[in-house]
Symmetry: C2
Subunit: 387 residues, 2 copies
């Protein structure tokens, strides 16, 4: 019987797909593992099969995989040279089936949904998670319900709707919408696999295992990752913690979670030494994918990043756009602004030379193709030529 | 010394990166191999390293790879059920670094450019090839020149320009532009790695090897691929031919090359039993990525598909959009209209039950995200919801 655990009160509760939050502290829970030795099956093809022993899945249903994961870890030689840095690598999550890291989480959550016999799934999203959930829902023959915030871009609506999901544009506060979705879910039997769903977080752990294998069984010294709901960061920390628990690594990486200055509740709480963040009421950033004023796993991330070792910081839109341009111009990687925060933060921290010894992994979470608005900021105009 | 071969007059010439056409017959040439035994190195990570022995590369420069290839071969269970078909699989080329199959060709051509000391590369493209060439050019620190046809969409221009390429919008006929580019290239020292570049075609061979490995060392019975310049089809045929030459397989797959009815010079020539196609003067199709009125490897494809076994056919825009919708709704794969032609053709052919025994591989060449215009045709509207 799968149980969830609240890392704040250390209480455990049976899995309830309609509510991922602790009934006592209201913080998001994570999967509780019974102590056992876990091994990797690297000869397998699917990423979920390779690391199934580390996941809350009794078996992997290959029929509902889209071949997620197994993304390349690309050394950024020109970036290294440009900033005189040691080994910097990009974990390119845009090479997932729907072009973002969300597929890793969706893949695990949909496996769980199908194994539990759930027939309806949903999510609340402004972008990547919507497309990912709709795609996996389609493949698994599940009825899929997507709640968009009013004002979501046409390209995001179309690339989600094409998968046959029921789309709703919802008026009102996004945080409110997130909470309401669980009420609706319980009433209507819809498993809302939102950003901090415990199964999603399990899926993000796989990225940590792949980084470890890609570095020839060593952990990197640093992991840089954009932070929105903070579910991704929590998953990465837990993934490396698994590796430590099993004796694969002896030291955890130092985690750098990055927010946009225009929406930075967690980096503010971190720099002010607080354990709990304060929600933001006005957001203003080009990095829409991480513009979350009230991150549901925010307090959990603050707790874990202090325990594991790391920091939360923010970067400006100007720094983000410069980093986006640099990744594209020097390395041929088209990251969205949210992902570009990782390079922006690295450049910022690299001015303090002592901080950066050892390998740095930047997790590139989403494709610049899905953020046309930011591309328009780069003043790109073709010349006219008459032959 | 690398030589190119014209498969029409069987003459061989030394490699000239400024002219991939036979000086005698004007048809595109392919790489000529000295007879030797070639082996696979499947324990390697990069696709080019795994199959280097089959490629015209003395070594693989890992610094300029973006982790292309190694794409999943995804069984389409719901499509199979829907049309009562045997095993159908999608080779999902949208999971390449710039989200299209072009990266495989660009990767090999840029390896060659760098090893030859070429400093400037270019291409003539309306979309996927432009972004791919610009990305790899950036990574390899090459000056990259892109010729767009006038009227190319903003999203394509931006996602190419972000890589720092010099962009030119050119007035005039696209076929003319293609030919002119080689003149300009020779004069200015720019290696124009256009659609039928022999190194590109070598890169596409790797897809054939991966399909063979993915099917546990068997060839599929059928390979369906969209046809534009015909370079991709030529590469796939040559890849399977390599496998046959080396004794890995005993029978070639049956190749189905698909065009859009609104631009189908090759399928017309094929159905009329002609060896040479006639260029088209008016094109009208939603599948922009394969709207090529004068495919430079057209005659070569007609020749090879007759020799290897296969057919060329076309499908209507209506059939294309239905197939695009089906792939998205049943399988969670967002293909562009060009790629959706493969399923449209399969559905069409599957009415003749005898034709389709054995595994079918559909090569999904590009992402639906890069063809917003087509997504707008699907009448997707979210409902409004007030909480």
């Amino acid at each position: 019987m799968l149980r969830l655990e609240c890392l704040f009160c250390r209480k455990k509760f049976p899995l309830d797909v309609f509510n991922p939050f602790c009934p006592l502290c209201r913080e998001p829970m994570v999967v509780a593992y019974p102590p056992r030795t876990r091994t990797m099956a690297l000869e397998r093809e699917l990423s979920l099969e390779k690391y199934r022993d580390f996941l809350p899945l009794a078996s992997v249903n290959k029929k509902i995989s889209l071949g997620e994961g197994n993304t390349p870890l690309v050394p950024l030689y020109r970036v290294m040279k440009n900033h005189n840095l040691p080994l910097v690598l990009a974990k390119n999550e845009t090479m997932n089936p729907t072009h973002s890291f969300k597929d890793r989480g969706t893949a695990v959550a949909v496996q769980k949904a199908v194994s539990l016999g759930v027939k309806k799934i949903g999510t609340v999203s402004t972008g990547n998670m919507a497309a990912s959930t709709a795609a996996y829902g389609a493949r698994a023959e599940l009825k899929t319900i997507i709640f968009f915030k009013k004002g979501s871009s046409l390209e995001k609506i179309l690339s989600t709707g094409i998968h046959g999901a029921a789309l709703f544009q919802v008026k009102g506060d996004y945080g409110e919408l997130f909470r309401k979705s669980f009420e609706i879910g319980r009433k209507e039997g819809i498993y809302f696999m939102n950003s901090v769903d415990p199964m999603r977080i399990e899926g993000y752990k796989v990225t940590a295992y792949e980084i470890f294998i890609g570095l020839e069984r060593r952990p990197p010294r640093f992991v840089f990752v954009p932070v929105s709901s903070a579910g991704h960061l929590v998953g990465l920390i837990r993934g490396f913690q698994d590796l430590k628990d099993e004796g694969f690594i002896h030291q955890m990486p130092f985690f750098v979670g990055i927010q946009a200055k225009g929406c930075s509740p967690l980096s503010r709480a971190f720099s002010e030494g607080r354990n709990r963040f304060r929600r933001v009421f006005k957001t203003q950033t080009i990095a829409h994918a991480i513009s979350n004023p009230d991150p549901p796993a925010g307090n959990l991330a603050l707790k874990l990043i202090r325990e594991a070792g790391g920091l939360l910081m923010d970067v400006t839109d100007r720094e983000i756009l410069a980093a986006q341009r640099e990744l594209a111009e020097l390395e041929g990687i088209l990251a969205d602004p949210a992902s570009a925060t990782t390079l922006a933060a690295l450049v910022k921290l690299s001015r303090d030379r002592k901080l950066l010894r050892g390998e740095v992994v930047l997790v590139v979470t989403g494709s610049g193709l899905k953020a046309m608005e930011a591309l328009k900021k780069h003043n790109i105009y073709p010349k006219l030529l008459k032959l």
